[in-house]
C-alpha cells in the first residue's frame, strides 16, 4: 500500500472537463494542448514513480504571454494548476491530479541574452540545466549548480526546488546563482522580480520564490550568474576503513582552510553498485570513500591535493587514487553522478535527502544503518559530505506493497533523525508530496502558519500545486 494521501478530486471540475479544455483551446494552439490519455501518460508522475495521477489536461505554452493566458483561463475557471519542468522531481513535486491542469515550460527553451561584462545569461526556464552551461562554455563560463539530473532537468524545475549539486560546496545552490526572474502569477499577471543587477534593493520576493515548489507562480525567464571555468580540475579518491575516519577527514580539511569544489561520500554498498555500473576504478575493499575535487592550474591543483592528501594520511586513509587524465576524472564523476541510475538497476529504491550538521555524521550513519536494518531492508549512502546533505538510498521491492510501506517508514524515521540532530528534512530535492506530512517535525505550528500566510499572499485560493509541501490538515485556508 502506498500511503501518501491525495485530496479527493473536485468533481465539479472534472465534470466540466470538456468545457475547460475548450476554454484552453481558445488561448493556445492545438499543438500546445495535450488531452488524450495515452499522451498525458508522460505527465502522470515524476521521478517519484510510485505515485501517479492522470491530469485534466496538459498545456505546453510557447511564450510567457501564453503561460499568462493559460493561467488566467484556469483562474477564471477555478481550476488547479501544476507547474512542470522536466518532471525529474524526486519528491513528487510535479505529480498532477485529476482535477488539475499541468502547465509545462518545456517549449520555452531559448537563450535570450548573454552578457559577458555582467557574467550573466538570461534564458527561458524550459531550457535544461546542462544546456545553460553548454551555451556559455565557448565563452569560458559555466552555470554552477549541477544536479545529477542536469541532462534532463530544467532551470524552471531547479528554481522550483532550489536545486543543488556536487559542486555547490564552493559555488552555492540555485538561489545563490539567480539574479532575476519573470513570473506569471495565479491570475495571469506577469511580474519581474530581482533584475540584472546584484542585490537589487527592495523587498526580496525573488529569494522567497526560489524553492517555492511551483506554489507562488510559474517562472518563465531567469537571469543566471555564470562563472569562469577553472583552468583545470582534478579529483582524488580516498578509501577509509570506517565512515568515522572519512568524516573526521572532511572536518580536518575544512579546519585547514581548504574549501574544495566538491567533497562527495559513498559507503560500501554505494561503491559496489556504482563501480559495477560505471567501472570508475573505485576501491571495493573499503567501508567509505571520498571524492574530493579541487580547481586551478596544474601546479595549484598539485599543491591543493598535496595538502589534502597529507590531511587524509593523518586520518588513516588506506587507498589514495589521484586522477591522472581527463578520462579518469570523467569516470570518477560518472560513477558518482550515476549513483541513482545504477542503484535503480539493482533494486527499487527511494532516495532520502535530509541534511545534518557534519559533526553528526558518524552517529547518523550508524543510526541510519540500524533503522533500515530494523525494517529488514538495505541502504546505500551517497552524499555531499562537505555540507552534510545525505542521500540514503533505501532499497526495496516495488512489487511487494509491504516492502514499499516499510521503505517509506524507514525513510520517515531517517528524516526525523536528521531533524533531531539539528538538520532538516530536505537539502535539495524539495518537500513535494513526499515529505509534506513530516513538516510538523521540523516546524512549529507558528512557523508553518507564517509560511501559509505568505503563500496565501500569492495564491489565496490554493490553486497552484495545492497538494504539496504543507500538510493537508491544518491549512489556514
Amino acid at each position: 500500500m502506498t500511503h501518501i494521501q491525495f485530496p479527493i478530486p473536485d468533481m465539479t471540475i472534472t465534470d466540466r472537463r470538456e468545457e475547460i479544455i475548450a476554454a484552453l483551446a481558445g488561448v493556445v494552439p492545438e499543438e500546445c494542448l495535450i488531452v488524450a490519455t495515452d499522451q498525458m501518460r508522460a505527465f502522470e508522475t515524476d521521478a517519484l514513480t510510485a505515485y501517479r495521477r492522470m491530469p485534466l489536461a496538459v498545456v505546453l505554452p510557447r511564450s510567457t504571454e501564453e503561460v499568462s493566458a493559460v493561467m488566467a483561463c484556469c483562474h477564471a475557471a477555478g481550476v488547479n494548476v501544476v507547474p512542470r519542468g522536466a518532471g525529474t522531481s524526486l519528491a513528487g513535486g510535479a505529480i498532477p491530479q485529476e482535477d488539475a491542469v499541468v502547465i509545462g515550460v518545456s517549449k520555452l527553451n531559448r537563450v535570450l541574452d548573454f552578457d559577458r561584462k555582467s557574467r550573466t545569461i538570461t534564458v527561458e526556464t524550459g531550457i535544461t540545466n546542462v544546456a545553460v552551461s553548454a551555451a556559455v562554455a565557448p565563452e569560458g563560463f559555466f552555470y554552477a549548480p549541477d544536479p545529477s539530473s542536469q541532462l534532463a532537468c530544467t532551470i524552471g524545475g531547479n528554481i522550483g526546488m532550489n536545486s543543488g549539486g556536487a559542486h555547490c560546496l564552493k559555488y552555492g545552490v540555485t538561489s545563490n546563482n539567480v539574479l532575476g526572474v519573470k513570473v506569471v502569477l495565479n491570475d495571469g499577471t506577469i511580474i519581474d522580480l530581482g533584475g540584472d543587477a546584484m542585490d537589487v534593493p527592495g523587498l526580496n520576493l525573488l529569494g522567497l520564490l526560489i524553492g517555492s515548489e511551483g506554489q507562488l507562480g510559474i517562472v518563465t525567464e531567469a537571469t543566471l550568474r555564470i562563472i569562469p571555468t577553472a583552468e583545470g580540475a582534478r579529483p582524488v579518491l580516498f578509501g577509509f576503513d570506517s565512515s568515522e575516519e572519512a568524516g573526521a577527514c572532511v572536518a580536518a580539511i575544512i579546519a585547514a582552510g581548504i574549501v574544495p569544489v566538491a567533497m562527495e561520500f559513498m559507503d560500501r554498498p554505494a561503491i559496489e553498485i556504482c563501480e559495477a555500473f560505471a567501472k570508475a576504478g573505485y576501491p571495493l575493499d573499503v567501508e567509505a570513500m571520498l571524492i574530493i575535487e579541487v580547481e586551478g592550474s596544474d601546479a595549484e591543483v598539485d599543491a591543493s591535493l598535496a595538502r589534502i592528501i597529507a590531511i587524509a594520511e593523518a586520518h588513516g586513509v588506506r587507498v589514495i587514487k589521484q586522477s591522472r587524465s581527463a578520462l579518469e576524472t570523467a569516470q570518477i564523476w560518472k560513477g558518482r553522478k550515476s549513483a541513482f541510475g545504477a542503484t535503480g538497476r539493482v533494486a527499487d529504491y527511494i532516495c532520502m535527502d535530509g541534511t545534518i550538521p557534519t559533526g553528526q555524521l558518524p552517529f547518523v550513519l550508524k543510526r541510519l544503518g540500524e533503522i533500515v536494518a530494523g525494517y529488514g531492508l538495505r541502504v546505500a549512502n551517497v552524499f555531499h559530505a562537505g555540507d552534510g546533505n545525505l542521500h540514503p538510498l533505501i532499497l526495496f521491492d516495488a512489487n511487494d506493497p509491504e516492502d514499499q510501506a516499510r521503505a517509506e517508514a524507514a525513510g520517515n524515521d531517517i528524516l526525523k533523525l536528521c531533524v533531531e540532530v539539528g538538520g532538516c528534512l530536505t537539502g535539495e530535492h524539495g518537500v513535494g508530496i513526499e515529505k509534506r506530512d513530516l513538516m510538523g517535525f521540523q516546524f512549529t505550528k507558528a512557523d508553518l502558519d507564517q509560511q501559509l500566510r505568505v503563500r496565501a499572499a500569492f495564491d489565496p485560493d490554493w490553486r497552484l500545486n495545492p497538494a504539496k509541501v504543507f500538510p493537508l490538515e491544518g491549512r489556514l485556508i
Binding site: 543543488g164 511580474i191 542585490d199 529569494g207 538538520g423
Partner: protein
C-alpha cells in the same frame, strides 16, 4: 518624548509586540544604529536589539556561526578570526560615511543585507544567511532555515527577510555560513585609467579563471590619478601565480602592479566603507546597483552631474556623491532610465528619498506579504515604502 525599548530576551520582545498590537504603538527597530536610514526613515518608539546578545553556536568544522541579533559584529568577527575564519561577504562599516557612532550588530547585516567588496565573488550577506529566528507582528516567535547550508524545507523566509530592513519582524537570532580566512591576498593596482577603460579591465579580470575576489575603480581626485584595483586571495603560492597571470592578461588596459599588503587592505576598506563620500565632501550619497555592462552609462551620467564616483563589484555597485546644487531627484531618474537601481544612503537632514517602487503588481504582492507577517504594520513604518 519617544520611548526606547531594550528587550532582554526573545520572550520579552514577543510580549512587548503582542501588547502593542492593540494600542497603535509602532516600532522603529534598531541594532547599533550605525547605518542610518537604510531603506527609509522609520517612525515609532525605538526598539533596539542590543539586549539580545551573545554567540549561540559556533562550529568551525561546519563553517557555521549563530548569534543573537544584537551581538556586536566585532565579537562575532573576533570569534571567527580566532579560528582562522571570517564572514565571507566583507560587510561594509557605515560609520565613516554617515558619521554615526555606536557598535554595529550582526542582526543588521542580515536585516539590511550588508555586504562589501568580496560580494562580487563570494556572494552577499543574504547568500550566507542560512537561518533566522524572529518575532512577527502577531508577537509570535518563528524560525526559518537553520544551521545547515543545504536546506530547502518549506518557503525560504530567510532570504525574504534578508534585506527586508525589519519591515516584516524583529530578527532575534541569525545564523551565517562562514569561510576560512585566506592565507594571503594580493592587490593589483593600475593608476590613471579612464573610467570606461577601467570598467572593461574589471570585467575582463572577473571573466578570468583566476578567482578575482574584489574589483573596484576609484576616480581621479585632486592630484591623485584614478585607481583600478583587483584582488586575489588564497594560499600564497597560488596568489603569486594568479596575480602574475592576471597582470599579463590585463596589460593592454594598463600596468597592473601589486601594492603592499597594508596598502592593499587600506584600499579595500576605502572602497568597502565609502569613506570618501562622507560629509562635507558630498551633500548627498547614492548607491547604485546595476548590471556591470550598464555601469559605463551611469559613470557618464555622474560626470554630467559633476558627481564624485567609485565603482565596486566590477561595476555592479556604483557610489555617487552629489554636490550641494545637484538635484537628487534628477539623479535618481537618470539612473533608473539607464537601468540602475539607486538608493539614497545619505542626504540633507530634512529630506527623505524612498526607493523607486517596483511597479503596481509587485508592490501589491509586497503589501500582502507584509500583512502576512505584520498585519497591523507595527514595524518600521516608512521603510521600503514603495515596496510594501
Amino acid at each position: 518624548m519617544s520611548t526606547l525599548y531594550v528587550p532582554a530576551s526573545e520572550d520579552e520582545l514577543a510580549e512587548l509586540v503582542s501588547r502593542a498590537a492593540g494600542t497603535g504603538e509602532r516600532f522603529a527597530i534598531r541594532g547599533g544604529a550605525t547605518r542610518g536610514a537604510i531603506g527609509g526613515r522609520a517612525e515609532g518608539s525605538e526598539l533596539t536589539t542590543t539586549g539580545l546578545s551573545g554567540i549561540t553556536l559556533y562550529e568551525p568544522a561546519e563553517m557555521v556561526i549563530a548569534a543573537r541579533a544584537g551581538t556586536p559584529l566585532a565579537e562575532v568577527e573576533a570569534a571567527l578570526a580566532d579560528k582562522g575564519q571570517m564572514l565571507p561577504f566583507e560587510p561594509m562599516d557605515h560609520r565613516g560615511l554617515l558619521g554615526t557612532e555606536g557598535t554595529p550588530t550582526i542582526g543588521a547585516l542580515a536585516a539590511a543585507n550588508i555586504s562589501g567588496p568580496r560580494r562580487v565573488a563570494a556572494g552577499s550577506a543574504r547568500d550566507h544567511l542560512i537561518g533566522i529566528r524572529m518575532v512577527n507582528g502577531r508577537g509570535e516567535i518563528i524560525k526559518s532555515g537553520g544551521r545547515v547550508t543545504k536546506n530547502v524545507t518549506g518557503l525560504d523566509l530567510v532570504k525574504l527577510n534578508a534585506g527586508a530592513c525589519g519591515t516584516l519582524g524583529v530578527l532575534t537570532e541569525v545564523t551565517f555560513k562562514v569561510l576560512p580566512r585566506p592565507q594571503s591576498a594580493v592587490t593589483l593596482a593600475a593608476r590613471g585609467l579612464a573610467p570606461e577603460g577601467a570598467l572593461t579591465a574589471l570585467a575582463d579580470a572577473l571573466a578570468t579563471p583566476f578567482e578575482v575576489s574584489a574589483a573596484a575603480y576609484i576616480e581621479a581626485a585632486d592630484a591623485e590619478p584614478s585607481m583600478t584595483l583587483v584582488r586575489i586571495e588564497g594560499f600564497s603560492e597560488s596568489c603569486a601565480y594568479r596575480s602574475e597571470r592576471l597582470s599579463e592578461l590585463l596589460a593592454h588596459h594598463g600596468a597592473f602592479a601589486p601594492v603592499g599588503d597594508e596598502e592593499g587592505a587600506k584600499n579595500w576598506r576605502r572602497v568597502g566603507n565609502a569613506r570618501d563620500f562622507a560629509a562635507p565632501n558630498c551633500a548627498a550619497v547614492l548607491r547604485v546597483h546595476v548590471a556591470p555592462s550598464k555601469a559605463p552609462s551611469i559613470l557618464e551620467l555622474a560626470q554630467r552631474l559633476e558627481a564624485r564616483v567609485m565603482a565596486d563589484w566590477g561595476g555592479g555597485l556604483i557610489w555617487l556623491g552629489l554636490g550641494a546644487d545637484a538635484s537628487v531627484e534628477a539623479a535618481m531618474a537618470g539612473i533608473a532610465e539607464r537601468g540602475g537601481h539607486p538608493m539614497v544612503v545619505r542626504c540633507a537632514a530634512d529630506t527623505d528619498w524612498p526607493l523607486i517602487g517596483p511597479g503596481r503588481a509587485v508592490a501589491e504582492l509586497g503589501k500582502r506579504v507584509k500583512a502576512a507577517f505584520d498585519p497591523q504594520a507595527l514595524f518600521n513604518p516608512g521603510v521600503l515604502a514603495g515596496y510594501l
